[in-house]
């Protein structure tokens, strides 16, 4: 089970190649910087690796031959390469970070740009949380790699190979004997990575369960206390908490085997170098005391990179998986496109639904093959008319509203405005003529002014004032803490539900559409705000064509005509009085509603 999850994070060879290719295409603009950074990194590593060789030279040429000049030369050179390594090192960290961070910025901007071009079907199919994660935590995972891993990974790889080259040059024989220890260390590191990966996946699961218990115990603490279950819940948390502890201890046990083995290998390496080095020295096989000293110093450059690379392997893998998901998003194609020869919508006209059928579905894989949500619906809304859509949840009235603003295109039939099929128009003119006002006033972080101008960023303050006055909301808006400059915070959380609705109505007024599609609010407001919203709506809808998805019968009763939608079909349409008189579906509803409230 854990093993299966473990594989989820891994990419196939093809996927990895794809990720690599796409990454390179993003890096193309920074080609020059990449080359410079690589060169600097190689130079810096060479400087670090020169150190032990210089110590060896100092011992052999200086100390053993009693040559103070050679000793001074070695020390002077060592100081020089140390300083160079410092200067170059700063450049490396800076250059690599700059390239990588810029790459991430480009990726974020591009992924988001692409996201905003995708059709409504995409947003309704995908879970909000997952979409946001793709743009945030998946890219943030890369941020960790970039800030901590990338430089040291490159350096580790270079250090290891550089050290191998250095010791082979110094003494091929002793180098061969020292490198014997590398395969066991590589094997142990691979074992450690595998085992600790497995153990950490388990830890992650246990943390998830424990957090869920914690969260529920806190969110439901009132119920727990009301029913005297404090002790039972504390006990329950104790169990999940201990399970997390046990899972964590397993990782500690694994590490407690690996790290001692690594340290012992280090000591063994020193013993091997000195023992065999001494033997070769006695035999006169070209091994000097300086060589032995240099070998011992190089040992760190051999062993440390193996350990670190094996741990960084995990980071790279999860980063690649993150990139893969982001690229997957970039490769998603969009539904609602503008035709090349698209025309602007006329200023006015009637809204016409002509034999429309519709089914949700995924493009490519059985598009529109899903269950029909709308069957052959036809209706016509005259300019300035007010139509209420009534029907149970899932009957199709909201879907119909979405087709009216072209969040979706119909499977069969057409939606037209002023005789022009919505599919043949520019998206820009469509959004100018037909506006949907969702039921809960949705606000974005920013000021009230920003929120109102969202549909018309170029609108002047005069335009804003006109829109506010047209709805009679001057006092309401001025009454906000800082008027139009009030920061509403995330999702408009600083305003009340009623105030959010009012702002969203001004937003619609500023956009000044010909057709308004309203999704009626269902939340309870305090009576004062409720009245303000109703009055503002009254002003907003004046002289416009209005289609309202109604949840209250009182709203339906006020419309010019009512369309009852059920099971994807238009059941009846007519004025409130006509429908009540006809004694059909609507009349039945109305009667039972009146009965329920007269009791």
């Amino acid at each position: 089970m854990a093993a299966a999850e473990h594989h989820e994070e891994k990419l196939t060879r093809d996927e990895a190649r794809h990720v690599l290719r796409r990454s390179f295409s993003f890096l193309r603009p920074y080609r020059g910087s990449v080359i410079v950074a690589t060169v600097v990194l190689v130079l810096q590593t060479a400087c670090i690796l020169a150190g032990p060789a210089l110590v060896g030279y100092g011992i052999d040429a200086g100390l053993n031959k009693h040559d103070a000049g050679a000793l001074n030369l070695a020390a002077g050179l060592y100081l020089t390469v140390a300083l160079l390594a410092l200067i170059l090192g700063r450049q490396v960290v800076w250059l690599v970070s700059k390239i990588a961070e810029t790459f991430l910025r480009d990726l974020r901007v591009e992924a988001f740009r692409h996201l905003t071009t995708l059709g409504m079907d995409f947003f309704e199919r995908e879970k909000t949380g997952q979409l946001v994660a793709r743009m945030t935590s998946d890219i943030d995972a890369l941020q960790d790699l970039v800030s901590q891993g990338l430089v040291s990974m490159g350096q580790n790889a270079l250090l290891f190979f550089g050290a191998v080259v250095a010791i082979v040059v110094l003494s091929p024989l002793l180098a061969a004997c020292t490198l014997v220890l590398v395969p066991p260390l590589v094997w142990a590191s691979a074992w450690f990575r595998r085992e600790s990966n497995r153990a950490y996946l388990n830890v992650r699961d246990r943390i998830g369960v424990n957090l869920a218990t914690l969260q529920e115990g806190l969110a439901g603490v009132r119920v727990v206390q009301a029913f005297n279950r404090e002790r039972a819940w504390t006990r329950r948390f104790y169990d999940t908490n201990e399970a997390q502890f046990d899972a964590h201890m397993e990782t500690v046990r694994i590490a407690s085997k690996y790290f001692p083995a690594v340290e012992f290998t280090g000591v063994l390496g020193i013993a091997l170098i000195i023992g065999l080095g001494g033997l070769f020295h006695d035999m006169g096989w070209g091994v000097t005391v300086g060589t032995i000293a240099a070998f011992v110093l190089y040992l760190n450059n051999l062993f440390d990179p193996i350990q670190q690379l094996s741990q960084q392997y995990n980071t790279v893998q999860s980063a690649a998986a993150g990139l893969h998901k982001v690229f997957g998003l970039l490769d998603t194609s969009t539904h609602i496109d503008e035709r090349r020869d698209a025309v602007a919508l006329p200023e006015t006209g009637s809204l016409e639904v002509d034999h429309v059928s519709f089914a949700y579905g995924v493009r490519g894989e059985g598009e529109g093959q899903g269950e029909l949500v709308l069957h052959d619906v036809s209706l016509r809304v005259a300019p300035g008319e007010r139509l209420a859509l009534v029907g149970p949840t899932g009957a199709g009235k909201s879907t119909l509203a979405k087709l009216l603003v072209r969040f979706y295109d119909p499977r069969d039939g057409a939606v037209r405005f002023g005789g022009v099929d919505l599919r043949d128009t520019t998206l820009r003119s469509l959004r100018e003529r037909i506006i949907v006002v969702p039921q809960e006033g949705f606000l974005f972080a920013g000021t009230v002014r920003d929120n109102i101008r969202i549909g018309r960023p170029d609108a002047s303050d005069d335009d804003l004032d006109k829109a506010i006055d047209a709805l009679g909301l001057r006092e309401r808006i001025d009454g906000l803490p800082e008027g139009l400059d009030t920061e509403v915070r995330e999702r408009g959380s600083r305003l009340s539900a009623g105030e959010r609705q009012l702002v969203s109505l001004v937003r619609a007024a500023l956009a000044d559409p010909t057709v308004l599609v309203l999704d009626e609010a269902t939340s309870n407001l305090d009576p004062g705000t409720e009245r303000a919203v109703e009055q503002a709506l009254e002003h907003l809808t004046e002289g416009r064509t209005v289609v309202v998805v109604a949840h209250r019968l009182s709203t339906a009763a006020r419309a010019d005509r009512v369309a009852v939608v059920d099971d994807g079909q238009l059941v009846e349409i007519g004025s409130h009085d006509e429908l009540v008189a006809r004694g059909g579906r609507y009349a039945g509803l109305y009667a039972s509603w009146q009965a329920g409230h007269a009791a």
Partner: protein, 605 residues
């Protein structure tokens, strides 16, 4: 003037913070103390490790100076074999100290989290009203994570201090001038690690904030996609995101600049020591004051000290964050539950469930009076409906009965006893309450219903579900009573959740049943099924109903109309409807703001 006030506030804040840190250290010490055995074991293993680690270079130096340089192969071999033997000790030591250190820190984490949870479960409602779940989660997760690294480092650093002192002693004994020169650069390592950790923390915090802002833009654009698309605001949002992405880039580069200053320095400072050793030490050898092997040993020791020096720097920087975090946790742990048994609290005597509110005044957190000198008597077995506008105090009355809050003035009396004189467990067992917002746990339907008594037989669970009018839809769930519901389970409608909550309250067979807006989300047409069931539940049981729907209110024997925390009218539903305009107004407003078309059509369709 204003400045002085600020100064004073700063001082009191500073004092408070220092006190919180002290409390934090005490808490950490108190949590580690029971693990003294592991701590001593860890320190012991650490000393063995340090000793072995220090000995290896000495053996290597001896091998070079006495074996290789004199050409004595046997001596070389003996020293080398000794080094391997010491290496075994070193490996065992490192295993022991790591295991102990991590065990202590994980144990500390688990213990603190458990104590925190246990305390939070006991703390009164008023505490939870003030604290948000998210903040409490942060205490239990983020703050405890701040403490962990410091606890890990305690045994590790004690061994490292031993190591550091021993190395310094050996170096000074060998050649004190060289020792001073070689070790001179290392405190800089400690210092710069400390400085780096301190400087990078605010920058990474800032970066985290910018990342949060960025994900805020993504989140709102996805959640509000209907507005974005409906108003053609894609470009506006793209501009916002670009702006945030630039801020993230700026912050990341600020962090990169700090890293670029620090990381290469970590490599450089030890190299500087090695240069000094080679040069000055080399001349000492030429002058005949030192051996070549000792130079090699010096090199070893310097490399050996790099990690402990960096670690001390990080420990110092982390310690202040950890003590502050522990202080915040301690603050919760020392909060005493306000609602608890008085000394001499007794069981609830047998009785019909008669409730009296005598001159009760109450305000949340001692604030504005929600109940103002309220007098109300509910006879045993009587069903009373509480009706009033939002904020009139009807839910508050319900919450005072099971002592979710205690009255400020006056008293609440159940069957002749002040509720504050009854054992809390006994009191709450006798009072069943269905909350306004129903909370179900991520468990099976059966476990949710039998919440008060997990050992209740299945027949009792089924009967409770019947009484709440829930058995019908439960049978239709994928796994019936074994269906997992709640946040992570099967999504129930609001009305279904409420019916399960009613069943949960009914199962405990309470003497007093309180339904706080408990049927507001139930379909109006389904409500009559529950009404019949509720009538049966209410028989012989004192019941308080808070509701708006006329049909539900009509279930009660008597209606009490509340306004501003006082009773302004009482009588039967018909009676009040006939003579109280205020009553008609409250009911009419409630009816007007209810969803109806959708709900009823759901039934019709």
């Amino acid at each position: 003037m204003a400045a002085r006030v600020d100064d004073e506030r700063d001082t009191t804040n500073g004092d408070h913070e220092r006190a919180a840190r002290r409390a934090g250290w005490r808490l950490m010490y108190g949590t580690v103390r029971p693990q003294m055995g592991w701590l001593l074991g860890g320190i012991g293993a650490g000393i063995v490790w340090a000793g072995a680690k220090i000995t290896v270079p000495l053996l290597a130096a001896a091998a070079i100076d006495q074996g290789i340089k004199t050409g004595d192969g046997t001596t070389t071999l003996i020293w080398v074999l000794l080094a391997v033997a010491v290496g075994v000790l070193q490996a065992l030591g490192t295993a022991g100290r790591r295991y102990c250190a991590f065990r202590i820190s994980l144990r500390t984490e688990a213990d603190l989290r458990h104590r925190l949870f246990a305390r939070l479960q006991q703390l009164h409602f008023a505490f939870h009203d003030r604290a948000q779940t998210g903040q409490l989660m942060a205490r239990a997760v983020t703050d405890i994570q701040q403490i962990e690294p410091v606890v890990i480092l305690i045994p590790l650093s004690i061994a490292s201090v031993v190591q550091l002192l021993a190395v310094a002693a050996i170096l000074f004994y060998t050649n004190w001038v060289l020792a001073v020169l070689a070790l001179g650069a290392l405190p800089l390592l400690n210092f710069s690690a400390q400085r780096f950790t301190r400087r990078i923390q605010p920058v990474s915090l800032h970066l985290q904030e910018e990342l949060a802002d960025l994900s805020g833009v993504v989140e709102e654009s996805v959640a509000g996609v209907r507005v974005v698309k409906g108003f053609g605001a894609e470009a506006t949002q793209r501009e916002k995101l670009r702006h945030e992405a630039e801020s993230v880039l700026d912050r990341s580069l600020a962090a990169a600049r700090l890293r670029a200053g620090f990381l290469p320095l970590v490599d450089f400072l030890p190299m500087l020591s090695l240069v000094v050793i080679l040069w000055y030490g080399g001349h000492q050898v030429l002058a005949g004051h030192m051996q070549v092997g000792q130079i090699v040993a010096f090199n070893f020791y310097i490399i050996m000290l790099i990690w402990p020096m960096r670690m001390f720097g990080m420990l110092l920087a982390q310690a202040s964050r950890a003590s502050a975090a522990a202080g915040r946790i301690d603050e919760i742990l020392v909060t005493e539950p306000e609602i608890k048994d008085r000394s001499g609290a007794r069981g609830l005597p047998e009785g019909p469930g008669e409730l009296r509110f005598e001159g009760v005044s109450f305000g949340y957190g001692g604030g504005r009076k929600v109940l103002d000198d309220l007098d109300l008597v509910i006879r045993g077995g009587e069903a009373v409906a509480l009706v009033g506008a939002t904020g009139s105090g009807k839910s508050t009355i319900a919450r005072l009965v099971p002592r979710f809050y205690d009255v400020d003035v006056g008293r609440v009396v159940l069957d002749g006893v002040d509720v504050r004189d009854v054992r809390v467990r006994d009191l709450r067992r006798s009072v069943g309450l269905v909350f306004e917002d129903t909370f179900l746990f991520s468990d099976t339907v059966r476990e949710n219903i039998s919440f008060a008594d997990p050992d209740a037989p299945m027949t009792a669970v089924e009967r409770a579900a019947d009484l709440a009018g829930a058995s019908g839809f439960i049978a239709a769930l994928p796994d019936g009573y074994d269906t997992v519901v709640g946040e992570q389970g099967f999504a129930l409608s609001g009305g279904q959740r409420q019916r399960i909550a009613i069943a949960r309250a009914v199962l405990a067979e309470p003497r007093v049943l309180i339904l706080d807006d408990a049927t507001s989300s139930v379909d109006p047409t389904k409500e009559h099924e529950i009404r019949a069931a509720l009538r049966e539940v209410m028989t012989g049981r004192t019941t308080l109903i808070i509701a708006h729907r006329p049909a539900t209110v009509a279930l009660a024997d008597r209606v009490v109309l509340l306004d501003a925390g006082r009773v302004i009218a009482e009588g039967t539903h018909e009676d009040l409807l006939a003579r109280s305009p205020e009553y008609r107004r409250v009911l009419a407003h409630a009816a007007d703001t209810q969803r109806d078309v959708t709900g009823e059509l759901e039934v019709a369709g």
